[in-house]
């Protein structure tokens, strides 16, 4: 089983549009949207939800005022300033550590488990898809990301699929860490700007930290070819393979408005060809062939 995670460091680089196009090209795969905080892949995939499950995250403290003696112990204990002078817990600030719950002398604090979102198993025109929606202002996005990836893996095993295509979240924090651990390879989609390069170098450090091979794809490369070359040189220096360049093309946005990927919207365009080349380069990269699967079949032929 191989899992390819598409991330970007910086948001808005066109990662999801490319992931959706790859979904058209991949064979025998399961799709997974690990950007649970601001999921977009479903907008291009039109998934038919087959199974919907609540995601229960952490607990949040609730003070029963009838039983509270206003001794002030909880206020003193809470490191997250979540309890007001009137002994009411602010659910947004509460970290769910439960320290006040355990140590309240009157046992006046409840600790109900919270529903933090939902996750889904769906059918799409490009195979099964696991995705989720994190509740607004919720924590635990890392946990939900791990859950979604785990479910995608289970589903792929059941269906005998050998590839998981995962659309990852932006940044380098908790959800990203949860989305890349144990992946076979990362495709880092970069745009040729100073911020693109800056953020990519942070993601590259993260990939090294977790020992996952990174592949680089420069999107909208023609907005600044010099910067594109700088990024490619940087990638080489960091021992990351460059899998190709995709031009800036309003076709991506037009396809998005139709709820399609670029290959479905205008499969004979030059840009569509470039996307196909990138996909081939990814699948031929050593990190996606650790078990020699791809090469093996060509050898047999």
């Amino acid at each position: 089983m191989r899992e390819l995670v598409i991330i970007s460091g910086k948001g808005g680089t066109g990662k999801t549009c490319l992931t959706a196009a790859f979904a058209s090209l991949a064979e025998n795969n399961v799709l997974c949207d690990a950007d649970v905080d601001a999921a977009n892949l479903h907008l291009l995939m039109n998934p038919k939800v087959r199974k919907r499950t609540d995601f229960m995250g952490g607990s949040i403290a609730e003070i029963r005022s009838a039983d509270c003696s206003e001794c002030g112990r909880c206020l003193e204990l809470c490191k997250f300033a979540a309890i007001s002078e009137e002994f009411v817990v602010d659910p947004i600030s509460c970290e769910g550590c439960g320290v006040c719950v355990d140590l309240c002398p009157e046992q006046a604090i409840d600790f109900p488990v919270q529903k933090c979102g939902e996750w889904y198993i769906s059918d799409t025109r490009h195979g099964a898809m696991v995705h989720a929606k994190l509740g607004i202002a919720e924590e635990n996005s890392g946990k939900l990301v791990s859950l979604v990836r785990q479910q995608a893996k289970t589903l792929a095993e059941e269906k005998g699929n050998d590839l998981i295509l995962t659309d990852g979240p932006p940044g380098i924090g908790c959800p990203v860490i949860a989305s890349i651990g144990g992946a076979s390879g990362l495709v880092i989609v970069v745009e040729p700007t100073v911020s693109g390069l800056h953020d990519m170098s942070r993601v590259a450090d993260l990939a090294v930290h977790f020992k996952i091979p990174g592949l680089i794809c420069v999107n909208k490369y023609d907005l600044n070819t010099e910067m594109t070359m700088e990024i490619e040189a940087f990638a080489e220096k960091r021992n990351m393979r460059v899998v190709g360049r995709v031009p800036f093309d309003p076709l991506f946005t037009r396809a998005m408005i139709q709820g399609k990927n670029i290959l479905e919207y205008q499969g004979n365009s030059d840009t569509a060809d470039r996307v196909r080349e990138v996909w081939d380069a990814i699948m031929q990269s050593p990190s996606m062939n650790l078990m020699g699967l791809k090469d093996f079949s060509t050898v047999i032929k």
Partner: protein, 279 residues
């Protein structure tokens, strides 16, 4: 006056709006880059920065001599950061949320005050704009305490502009809580609209007034404008796609450097925000 510049979706031009507005207003403005996972504002403002200050958080350090292996600390820890194996306490620092529960319950005084590095904070100035940003350590998962640290630098009572991280979960909340106004930056596409809706919901849970900037306003469809009209969210500025702006952005230049006529528009944007935040 604290203005948080946010966007449900990343890459919509949030940093562009924050840095251009700060620079156009100039004197007395403080810009706080709270997108600590991927701080970018410095690339456009080129501030002169002072020494990086390390920001740490509490994690327990166990004194094996004093520890009796009673397991009380592991029992209160809701984050599985402590385990007692063969009478010895193991600490998993990256899981710890610094709640202090373990220290509170240990009767032997065996839980000592240790720490984990979250990242760094740097401050300085870019022309007459005061500047600070945080930088999350690579491999660190918890950004909210670092964001709070960056926000605590704000001793000035003039105008503070916060560049918030993308998304709608805890880091964003940490960057917009307590602001007087949230300026949402979006692009008029289905992705932009979808994430804008989530962002607006997050702002609503906090009860802060908000307004909208539409970037690359001529690429896409009318979904965002229709939504804004329906929800009564004022559109305060539209920035059309301009290759010259895109190229300037790619090399770290401000819009107002290549298109000086935009300085007035950004000052005007601020004036409109001030009126909206007041009423």
């Amino acid at each position: 006056m604290i203005i948080s510049v946010a966007s449900g979706k990343g890459g919509t031009g949030k940093t562009t709006v924050a840095t251009n507005m700060a620079s156009a207003l100039g004197r007395g403005v403080r810009l706080l880059d709270c997108d600590v996972e991927e701080p970018n504002a410095h690339l456009f403002l080129n501030p002169v920065l002072g020494q990086a200050e390390e920001v740490t958080t509490f994690i327990p350090e166990i004194d094996d001599e004093l520890c009796t292996g009673c397991k009380k600390c592991a029992e209160i820890c809701r984050f599985r950061a402590l385990a007692v194996v063969a009478g010895k306490v193991l600490v998993f620092p990256e899981l710890c949320h610094s709640c202090g529960g373990c220290m509170e319950v240990c009767e032997e005084g065996a839980v000592l005050d240790g720490n984990r590095i979250l990242g760094t904070v740097e401050s300085g100035s870019a022309g007459n704009v005061l500047f600070s940003h945080g930088r999350l350590r690579v491999g660190e998962a918890m950004s909210p305490p670092l964001i709070e640290k960056v926000r605590s630098i704000n001793e000035n009572n003039g105008i503070t502009i916060i560049d918030a991280p993308p998304g709608t979960s805890c880091p964003v909340i940490a960057a917009i809580k307590g602001a007087d106004f949230v300026l949402m930056v979006t692009e008029p596409t289905p992705f932009g609209l979808h994430d804008l809706k989530l962002g607006v919901e997050a702002v609503k849970t906090l009860g802060i007034p908000c307004g909208l900037v539409i970037n690359r306003s001529d690429i896409g469809d009318d979904g965002v404008r229709e939504y804004a009209a329906k929800e009564d969210i004022p559109v305060l500025l539209e920035i059309p796609f301009d290759r010259k702006i895109a190229e300037a952005y790619s090399v770290g230049k401000l819009i107002i450097e290549v298109r000086p006529e935009w300085a007035d528009k950004f000052r005007d944007l601020y004036n409109r925000i001030e009126i909206l935040a007041r009423c």
